[in-house]
Symmetry: C2
Subunit: 369 residues, 2 copies
């Protein structure tokens, strides 16, 4: 089927909106947070648990799956959904971000990017067309174009060059698509507003199913990230889904939604969970802290998740100190619940025209007010 | 309540029997395999999954819990059941085995054993009375007496000395008990039949609720282990539960049951699972092997467990190679299912007077016949 996006409700007092995406593997209500399943698994969590948590769509990493297990195997299974036992929508990134953050000896050429694998050093060449082919093998419901993500800080000249090249690659990606899977463009432009605007204008004129903001939250100060976001997000074509890639904290999600972002993904609920951090309605806590040694209360007394209904901070701290896998499970589960529940509350607040109020009261409590 | 054991059915052609143990946290059908939850968690598995797997009783390690999180915390929770969210029976070992296998600088004295913690080097002294107190704080349904486990090989003179001392400690343990939790004796004796006999005779005359065989599967050749087991197990008092500690493989369980063993515990389903080994009806496989790279079949096509109903060898191998936590979860789950299902089949075969047949046909298939 052809991908479709419909806007259900627009907030009166901000750019926030609720919507619905229709994909080959089902509907997705926006704004949405997508748990990251890099290696065709959301770390420490089963697909059944993801459903229980209310996850509607997850992300797979093209670069990682291309390297391991490789496309022969994924192809044999007819995509990652069957491979990993997840029957709902999947979004894949293009691999571009990993090439520029993980791989070695990368070399940008006019028609693609050459690099060495971070796993075995083997040499590879990604082109806009090739990464579409890979994503069609993965059979992801939403594919991303190959782009070049400039690091922070970068000279304007360099950013301009790679942003223009990215846009050119976007057009090639669209031409290369053979499936009816959705394909999103990625607007780069670094921290330069005119380049961001140029990128969005060019991509908006193309036949993408959605537009993403790439190259934010790549090391720049938070204030600058928010400034760029607030300038850029409202420029995105109103009738298409807006995706803020690789972001972020609960604050980031709220500010993103306020500016019209519909989709987010980030590793922090699971990665920070494995490192002993829990997100709670009163801010984050580190379960490593000595103060929790004998604490019989749950991670968040306002949370109804499996972890909080059954386990104490003292127990989770004990598991964490003893390096038990169950610590990673319980913390990852709780954090994903926190993020997915936050998005559910955001959607409800937009539907009821009280998003800004919700945002304010959430942040006051979250920041210890 | 007072611990009770009843024998339901005795096999006509072997020492095998089925029975039922009544503990403070419920009934346990024997013969039983007890998953090991060293740090108050069966590694990578939740209590709900244990119930789903049919686990009736699990083991906690006294030594580990005493070291971390410590008895102050366990006491605050009223035992490990509440601490770890497991409401069924728990058996605790005495800590003796860990003192002799993990701890440093141990020194056996007439009234106990001095040692240094393997975690922080701190100095400790375990007495027969103290470890009963610890186990009563843990509130385990079945406690074990402090014993001395001689390594293999050991001089007869040494084995005789520590076996006699262990028996003396057994009498002190019984005197120290203040709860109605069950208390089992542990018969040592190394690889010396007369010492084994002596140990069992002395312990049988005491008021233990069950008797365990300790000091087997400690590095001796398999044949010798089986020889000692076949000689020793039938000497155990018929009306009390017989527990073979720290054992073992599926073959070991079958041979144990044949000789009248009612209870087993071992880390191999979970530890070997984490290391990439799966137990199947046709023997063990290593998921690391290249031959499984594109294998779309489950770990065991005759297995109905969650892992086998949903995942392929190729996917689990991929997870294992990518060091994903889900690999440990899926393999541990499958292996525990295999062990617990084996015990269920053993109980059914005894009830239907076809245990030796079952044993034979299981082993023919398991050993590739």
């Amino acid at each position: 089927m052809k991908f479709k996006f419909e806007i259900l409700k627009k907030d009166k007092n901000s750019y926030a909106r609720t919507g619905k995406m229709y994909t080959n593997h089902g509907k997705v209500e926006t704004p949405i947070f997508m748990p990251v399943g890099t290696n065709a698994t959301v770390k420490a969590i089963t697909p059944e648990e993801l459903e229980e948590l209310g996850a509607q769509i997850i992300l797979n990493n093209t670069y990682h799956l291309y390297m391991r297990p490789g496309m022969d195997i994924i192809s044999k299974f007819g995509g990652t959904q069957k491979f990993m036992n997840w029957n709902k929508p999947i979004l894949t990134d293009s691999g571009g971000f990993q090439v520029f953050s993980l791989a070695a000896l990368r070399k940008i050429k006019e028609d693609g990017v050459e690099f060495n694998s971070h796993i075995d050093g083997s040499k590879h060449f990604f082109t806009p067309e090739k990464v579409i082919g890979i994503q069609e093998t993965i059979n992801s419901d939403i594919m991303m174009m190959l782009d070049i993500c400039p690091p922070y800080p970068s000279e304007k000249k360099y950013v301009e060059k790679v942003t223009k090249l990215s846009n050119k690659w976007g057009a090639l990606a669209l031409k290369a698509r053979k499936s009816d899977n959705a394909l999103f463009g990625i607007a780069q432009g670094g921290m330069y507003k005119d380049l961001r605007k140029m990128a969005i204008e060019e991509l908006s004129a193309m036949d993408f199913d959605g537009i993403a903001l790439g190259g934010l939250s790549v090391g720049e100060p938070n204030d600058l990230m928010y400034e760029m976001l607030e300038y850029t997000a409202p420029l995105l074509p109103i009738d298409k889904p807006h995706y803020l890639m690789g972001v972020g904290t609960p604050e980031d999600l709220l500010i993103g939604v306020k500016n019209g972002i519909d989709m987010f993904d980030c590793v922090i609920p699971t990665r920070n969970g494995r490192n002993g951090m829990a997100f709670t309605s009163r801010g984050t806590i580190s379960i490593k802290n000595k103060q929790y040694t004998e604490d019989m209360s749950p991670l968040d007394d306002q949370c109804q998740c499996y972890t909080c209904r059954n386990y104490s901070k003292a127990y989770i701290r004990h598991l964490f100190k003893a390096k038990e896998i169950l610590a990673a499970r319980l913390l990852s589960y709780h954090n994903l619940y926190f993020f997915l529940k936050l998005m559910e509350k955001i959607r409800a607040s937009i539907a009821e025209d009280r998003f800004l109020e919700f945002k304010k009261s959430f942040l006051i409590k979250y920041n210890g007010g």
